[in-house]
Point group: C2
Chain length 184, copies 2
Amino acid sequence: MRKTIELSQAYRLINHGPVTLVSSAHGGARNVMAAAWAMPLDFDPPKVAVVIDANTYTRQLVEASGEFALNIPCRAIMGQVLQAGSASGRDLDKFAHTGLGLFSALQIDAPLVEGCVAWLECRVLPRPDNQQRHDLFLAEVVAAQADDRVFRDGQWRFEDEGLRTLHYFGGKYFAATGDPIKAA
Amino acid sequence: MRKTIELSQAYRLINHGPVTLVSSAHGGARNVMAAAWAMPLDFDPPKVAVVIDANTYTRQLVEASGEFALNIPCRAIMGQVLQAGSASGRDLDKFAHTGLGLFSALQIDAPLVEGCVAWLECRVLPRPDNQQRHDLFLAEVVAAQADDRVFRDGQWRFEDEGLRTLHYFGGKYFAATGDPIKAA
């Protein structure tokens, strides 16, 4: 079940370096792309940094709307993550292409992606130099949710193999996030 | 055995979101800290982005020298990664404190950390606004190496449990990187 996460704990949803799906919308158009280059940037208010290549359709929608969501996918939809990263939203509707469903966000107009296990709704902090020189977007997280089967009380708890988050190596290869190990 | 990695493949060393150790040096002083908020920023020439808090000793050394290394630790030194993230180099020599060894880098004056499995030597790209407002450092990777027991032919190959890279959840908790899974 989807639960709202306190903003001060939102960074924990991506602290371990999982691959993300960036969803965006503008003027009736919408898109989703895979992005491995995303990380937390601040705790509270939470901020994130993500690289969105200049050639992508997502880039166009994010620049026009000033918003995007980072959706955190899991192993059950790994093939669809790869598909979302391998086609362009300019050529086809990637939700239809991948079969990924969507639902309304709490604070932004970009849709959120069904089948993911966490969602961070983000508003772009305008940093034109970063965007133009480095394809780097900084954003504030304005709402966060997670599936309480795998994220509860501020902690990831991977009990179902299919609900583990993913780390992207490149090509067609991912790793599922392992169980938490306590350092001595 | 440590092998030089082609710069065009250096991003693969951190593409999956592992925790890093940031090593730095200036004027006879040196330090190492843990940083989970690091990611690739570009392929070739490779660049990285990393958050280095304004209150850290590492920040002082990086700003003074314009250099740092991202060292990628593995499970065998997980406890030392936690120690490196829990003390300040202002108060003690963190290499002595953690027992982490060091060796000379190829292109920069900052030392590299023994017991890690990959190393990215970085020169800071001066972006004062990012540094001051967001503690965010962008840097170009000028040399990269990896332990060929776990990274060969451009791919991670985790055969030894102790040599798996780590993902940081928070507190004392990490996950070891899992085996590559091929998406359908």
